[in-house]
């Protein structure tokens, strides 16, 4: 039964594990209990929630596969629904080192921006490739390229979704690094540290989550919370939260159709 307004928790609380729980975001989740190998092959799907009125409007899929002797391949898909039926989509393939931070070595990225009729806008069709080697960060697009120096170590925002699942909890030493946000915004002086454990109800079961906090230039603090198996269930920062949810794709498709009906119906 839907809660009355008076019964609903206050909708302007900062995002925390507790507030996500209080708002019912965690109650519908049922992560499998069987063994999970963070260093193996897996797919994690997250639903994007936004703090203002706790609405959801997108998804993030991260697929991991070991690659060669010392590598990891990450495939990333991000979809964000915007007003007026616009849709922003990013697809990236990252070849990373199998190191603590899953540091990218090379990648391909495509960005599309669709209007309500699924037609690409004039701001769509971005395609680029990049490499990180010996302190040089190179991005290639078309027949052009740009190279900059970057401090080491460097990782990416998506790599961190992989890396935190392999960290050893309270034994984690603070990690310092630079970060490529979406592979092309350099954010310096990042630090990732263990920030404790919490017991929460997830899908009707009590789970013990362990957390890591990231602070640094150009980001509001991120918190990443993994379950006993290491599976990343929650990642949040500022006004957004990514919550583990294998049904996110279906939700996004349903929401997209509804947005298109509303927008096109009005015209």
């Amino acid at each position: 039964m839907a809660k009355t307004k008076a019964q609903q928790p206050e909708r302007t609380r900062p995002i925390t594990v507790e507030s996500l729980g209080a708002f019912g975001v965690l109650s519908g989740l049922s992560p499998p209990a069987e063994r999970f190998d963070p260093a193996g092959e897996w797919t994690q799907t997250y639903r994007l929630w936004m703090v203002q009125r706790y609405r959801s409007g997108g998804k993030l899929v991260v697929r991991r596969a070991p690659s060669g002797r010392d590598g990891v391949r990450l495939r990333v898909e991000s979809t964000i629904a915007e007003y007026g039926g616009h849709l922003r989509r990013l697809e990236a393939v990252l070849d990373c080192a199998a190191d603590t931070l899953c540091s990218p070595r090379g990648w391909r990225l495509k960005a599309t921006h669709l209007d309500v009729r699924d037609k690409p806008t004039a701001g769509s069709g971005l395609s680029e490739r990049g490499t990180l080697a010996d302190g040089a960060w190179t991005v290639r697009f078309g027949d052009r390229s740009r190279t900059r120096k970057v401090p080491s170590p460097v990782t990416s925002n998506w790599s961190l979704f992989e890396a935190v699942q392999r960290l050893p909890g309270k034994d984690t030493q603070p990690l310092g690094f630079a970060m490529l946000d979406e592979m092309d915004l350099l954010k310096l002086d990042q630090q990732l540290s263990f920030c404790g454990t919490k017991q929460v109800q997830v899908g009707g079961r009590k789970r013990t989550l362990r957390g890591y906090a990231q602070i640094g230039c150009g980001v509001l603090p991120w918190q990443y919370w993994v379950d006993e198996q290491g599976r990343l269930l929650l990642a949040f920062s500022g006004v957004r939260a990514y919550v583990w949810d294998p049904q996110a794709e279906q939700f996004v498709q349903k929401q997209r159709k509804a947005a298109q009906s509303r927008a096109l119906g009005r015209r």
């Binding site: 925390t16 915007e82 007026g84 921006h113 701001g123 915004l185 906090a213 509001l220 006004v239």
Partner: protein
């Protein structure tokens, strides 16, 4: 917003009667219908050069002194610093109205909000009033818009005179600003044909507006989540943290957060991270402009709709006339600047000056009845008309007159006026209106305000 010029400062009118009739009688829609790409070629032939592209970057809720290049020690803004180093920054730059929709209505029309009628959020620019997109499109520009509009809808796929290449998500700058910069990046990198029409692109970011969410999430002494690792990095309280309780009633009614010193400083720390977030997105757009090969023929203007309280006078957010809310960054990078890297600390500028400045750079007429003045002569080191004062409005009843020395604030039906000596008291802590020592200045500023308002075509819904 603003101003009233001295008669000798009036810019030479290049408008014909036909122009005025065209704008007034058929309005914006008519201007779009009359789009004339040949206008660009005509002007190019006349001047011997291709008209410049224009990139207008707008952020939301970013006060003037939030750039490391302009002296803020608590933030790292390498991309805006680069722009400031290559351009000219104006240190006495004021919004017409420190609220989103009103301020934006002035940016896009060159008119004060008493004339646009957009004196509160969520109103449209009147259809009969020429505005930037349609005006430039009529002159053969390719006009593109990405991000926040708020006239009336915050985000919309349909903006008069513009092709919308990205919308956004209300209240979620941390989520949607990347979509704005990515769309601009894709368009700019994809422009490979130098014979194409020049473009006017607006990149309208929401950050650091997410500070509004931070404030509402932590209102009423709600617990904040602190991180020990930043304890040594928290900015100090501002010098003008205190406030005079004998403020105008509109200010006394404002809720001031009852935070501890640590909470105030943590709020500031978060705000500056949001500034850094938008700086990074701006960097993506500026890099893409470089990648396009057209940066040398592009006028880049960076500004914000209004500022943010930041604890000054123990205030947060906006919608009042102290400098922290009313003073906004303005940086112009353009071909032919007299002294790139300079901070102009003398000239009073206003949001109404943006449109006429862009028009002059493009070599096109300024729409009729625009109240602003082009900054191009000053940017190129030439003499030109300048404002004797700039004006701003707020909450229907509040008015501000800023001259080089003083700032005067008055609210309708409120006997409490404020007069600050902006040279001796930059923090606006000592109200001089109550004493007699500055009676002449008070009288002069009252008259400036009355005369300014009297000279406006006030929109019926503005009063």
């Amino acid at each position: 917003m603003v101003t009233r010029m001295h008669p000798e400062d009036a810019p030479p009118s290049r408008l014909t009667r036909r122009d005025i009739l065209k704008a007034g009688a058929i309005g914006t829609a008519g201007l779009v219908a009359g789009a004339a790409p040949e206008a660009v070629a005509r002007r190019a032939g006349k001047a011997g050069v291709r008209p410049p592209n224009i990139l207008l970057i707008v952020t939301d809720q970013q006060g003037l002194d939030t750039l490391s290049a302009l002296g803020c020690d608590h933030v790292a803004t390498p991309h805006l610093d680069r722009l400031a180093g290559q351009g000219v920054a104006f240190a006495e730059s004021y919004t017409t109205n420190p609220l989103c929709s009103p301020a934006r209505s002035s940016l896009f029309t060159g008119r004060p909000t008493l004339e646009t009628g957009v004196v509160v959020n969520g109103r449209p620019i009147p259809e009969t009033m020429p505005s930037m997109g349609a005006w430039f499109r009529q002159e053969g520009y390719e006009t593109l818009y990405a991000g926040k509009w708020h006239l009336p809808a915050s985000y919309t796929p349909s903006i008069p005179g513009f092709d919308v290449i990205a919308t956004g998500i209300n209240g979620q700058g941390g989520v949607c600003d990347a979509g704005v910069s990515r769309a601009c990046q894709a368009y700019l990198r994809g422009r490979r044909d130098a014979t194409r029409k020049p473009f006017l692109m607006v990149a309208s970011f929401l950050q650091p507006h997410d500070v509004c969410q931070f404030v509402s999430m932590h209102a009423g002494r709600k617990e904040m989540v602190f991180y020990d690792a930043v304890a040594d990095d928290l900015p100090p309280l501002p010098n003008n943290f205190e406030f005079d309780p004998r403020e105008p009633a509109a200010m006394r009614r404002r809720k001031r957060p009852q935070w501890s010193e640590k909470q105030w400083r943590y709020y500031l720390w978060n705000y500056y991270r949001m500034v850094e977030m938008v700086d990074a997105e701006i960097g993506r757009v500026l890099d893409a402009l470089d990648d396009s090969g057209e940066a040398d023929n592009t006028v880049v203007v960076f500004t914000a709709d209004h500022g943010e309280g930041r604890g000054r006078h123990q205030l947060v957010t906006k919608n009042y006339l102290y400098d922290e809310a009313a003073r906004v960054p303005l940086i112009v990078r353009a071909p032919g600047l007299a002294r790139p890297g300079r901070v102009n600390r003398e000239r009073l500028v206003s949001g109404v000056d943006i449109l006429p400045t862009l028009c002059e750079y493009a070599g096109i007429d300024t729409p009729p009845k625009v109240r602003g003045l082009s900054l191009k002569p000053a940017l190129e080191g030439r003499d030109g008309p300048a404002h004797h004062f700039v004006a701003a409005e707020v909450t229907r009843t509040g008015r501000m007159i800023r001259t080089k020395r003083y700032k005067y604030i008055a609210y309708a039906n409120d006997p409490v006026e404020q007069l600050f000596d902006m040279q001796a008291d930059r923090g606006e802590m000592k109200n001089l209106a109550a004493g007699t020592a500055h009676a002449a200045a008070l009288k002069e500023h009252r008259k400036l305000l009355a005369d300014w308002q009297h000279g406006l075509d006030i929109h019926p819904e503005a009063s």
